[in-house]
């Protein structure tokens, strides 16, 4: 999600630098207020930790693909929102200067898209309220997954907004967002799971290290990470299978808008709709020619499996791209070795 310099205009870059600078100034004030001289060295080492830990490939079960740790949620869960935000700025600066991951001009955008959402929103709006009644493994898993998904969605949407505002691409706003958001939904889910696993380990070993920890939290939680995962999987199937029965037959927001403009909720004419009806596996979320509840349940579960299949497909595609990319890096390394 790191934006390159070529994707922003000076005006957008300047505006985002200003926004990030305000957040940084406020964070510095907060860190100073805490009067903890130890925090700066800890932030430095933790920045290096996040950078190094993001190099570890965690295998995603059933896909053969791999994911990485989510830096924003991890830092804010350990250091708190303000110190976490400042630490992530350092990490982004190192990534930009050393590995050309993001640009110097677009750094303001990247700080906002990743550090601000990841630390401020992740810690203050998700982690802190969820841990109010005490830290448990279940809450850590839920906060990590929700935090990573939400902050990555916000970040991806900001990338679309910033690129569109810069008039860099002729890609329509809706099409660009439709590509960016689902991809980052998957990434967020995987990063959330990995972050949850690490934070649960920290909670078990040294609970006092976590942000918002209390003395009474220093006992083992109710759920293990595996149990939480099974619970989440079952919840997805129940949501897809049973709750789809309660799906509204009224038009949703988008259909309502289209109906207002075109006079019908399904523009495109009868011929187009007829073709769609014929080729759709489960038209209108039920078996063809059936209005039964069973059909709806099956279609819900089929939807969950289809999305899971799509996720796996996209993961494999990313794995292929990553393989190709690292093959190039390997080739470069071999060339360098040969030349030296």
């Amino acid at each position: 999600m790191h934006m390159a310099d070529a994707l922003v205009t000076p005006a957008v870059a300047g505006a985002m630098y200003a926004c990030s600078a305000v957040a940084a100034a406020y964070s510095i004030r907060q860190v100073r207020l805490e009067e903890d001289a130890k925090k700066v060295p800890v932030m430095g080492v933790m920045g290096a930790f996040v950078f190094a830990a993001q190099m570890i490939n965690f295998t995603i079960p059933g896909t053969g693909s791999s994911g990485h740790l989510c830096g924003g949620m991890m830092l804010s869960a350990v250091l708190g929102p303000y110190a976490g935000f400042l630490t992530l700025i350092g990490v982004l600066l190192v990534q930009c200067l050393l590995f050309a991951d993001g640009g110097l001009l677009a750094l303001g955008c990247n700080i906002w898209n990743m550090a601000f959402y990841g630390c401020m929103i992740g810690a203050l709006l998700i982690w802190k309220p969820m841990m109010k009644k005490g830290i448990t493994k279940g809450r850590i898993a839920a906060a990590s997954i929700l935090g990573c998904v939400l902050t990555l969605q916000l970040g991806a949407f900001s990338v679309v907004l910033e690129t569109t505002a810069s008039h860099i691409t002729e890609l329509p706003f809706a099409a660009f967002a439709a590509v960016m958001q689902p991809i980052h939904l998957l990434i967020g889910l995987v990063e959330g799971l990995i972050t949850a696993a690490v934070l649960i380990f920290v909670h078990e070993a040294r609970p006092e290290l976590l942000f918002c920890s209390r003395k009474e939290d220093r006992t083992a939680g109710r759920f293990s990470f595996g149990t939480t995962l099974k619970f989440l999987g079952a919840a997805a199937l129940v949501t897809g299978g049973l709750l789809s029965l309660a799906a509204s037959s009224n038009p949703d927001g988008l259909e309502w808008s289209v109906e207002k403009i075109a006079g019908t909720a399904e523009p495109g004419g009868g011929a187009q709709n007829a073709v769609q009806e014929k080729i759709a596996l489960l038209p209108d979320y039920a078996f063809r020619g059936s209005e039964s509840a069973f059909g709806t349940v099956v279609s819900g579960i089929a939807g969950v499996l289809a999305v899971a299949g799509l996720c796996a497909g996209i993961c494999y595609f990313f794995k292929f791209l990553q393989k190709h990319r690292w093959a190039e890096v390997k080739e470069n390394g071999a060339d360098r070795k040969g030349s030296s």
Binding site: P41, G44, A48, T59, P61, V78, D101, F225
Partner: protein, 270 residues
């Protein structure tokens, strides 16, 4: 060499490049920082279809590459990791920008031109940032940030991140190597070990941070970290370098220098 090994190698390579006693390396870090930011701002400000104007900006990285005696091959390889995303965004122009433009008697889609401009901009921006870091050490860059009154806490934290980066990368390298030896033929870290592997590293990092803090206290740390001992004054040649390139950037942005040069050479030949 694994992914982390390559990252460590890259950090060491850049440190060695920045530590060389080249003429460009000796220019004041503040001047180089200002020039890089100015260059980036001017380069990305060119209109979407001004290919000649944008290409003209290549003069700065080209000159610096030659003056700093940097390998064109190594520099080019660095671009391979960045440009795919820029090109992906540029592809949108190819399909959605259906206007037509005339170039040298040929009519082509404007989307092709705007995609090429985006590609050139992306290349030049990556080059400019690389040239800054390949000719300026991180300590000197932080010294420049200090002159600009960047918050001390952020500079100190950034420098410590930089200092401990290779150390932790090497630790990750050892851990993943040890894991791979115990799990032959397995790619990545299995789900069962997700938490314990990275969690152990986190706990060790926190303990290391405690040790670092105590060592810093023993050496007189009171919230102010002396990252550079020599304070380099701004000399005349630094100011001249800044003014020369600053003027050139303005010239290339305001006038079609490449067209004028081409017309001039054409006039001389005829």
């Amino acid at each position: 060499m694994g992914q982390t090994g390559k990252a460590v190698h890259e950090v060491h390579r850049l440190e060695q490049l920045a530590a060389r006693d080249q003429w460009v390396n000796r220019i004041h870090p503040l001047v180089k920082f200002f020039l890089t930011v100015g260059y980036l701002a001017v380069t990305v400000s060119f209109p979407a279809y001004d290919l000649a104007g944008t290409a003209g900006m290549a003069v700065y990285p080209l000159a610096l590459l030659i003056l700093a005696d940097l390998s064109f091959r190594d520099t080019g390889k660095r671009l391979r990791l960045v440009l795919p995303f820029v090109l992906l965004i540029g592809l949108g122009n190819l399909f959605f920008d259906r206007n037509l433009v005339q170039i040298g008697g040929f009519t082509i889609r404007a989307g092709v031109v705007s995609m090429a401009v985006l590609f050139v901009k992306g290349t030049l921006c990556v080059l400019a940032s690389y040239l800054l870091i390949a000719t300026t050490s991180m300590e000197k860059l932080c010294y420049a940030f200090g002159i600009l009154h960047f918050p001390k806490a952020v500079i100190t934290q950034f420098l410590l991140t930089w200092r401990y980066l290779t150390l932790l990368l090497e630790e990750v390298n050892r851990m993943t190597d040890a894991y791979a030896l115990r799990a032959p033929g397995q790619k990545g870290i299995r789900m069962k070990a997700w938490g314990s592997l990275a969690g152990q590293l986190l706990l060790r990092s926190m303990d290391r941070a405690d040790g670092v803090y105590e060592s810093m206290l023993l050496r007189g740390y009171r919230g102010d970290y002396a990252y550079i001992r020599e304070t380099a004054p701004l000399r005349g040649r630094d100011a001249a370098w800044l003014l020369f390139w600053g003027a050139l950037f303005v010239l290339f942005r305001r006038f079609p220098v490449l067209y004028l040069a081409g017309a001039g050479i054409g006039g001389l030949l005829s």
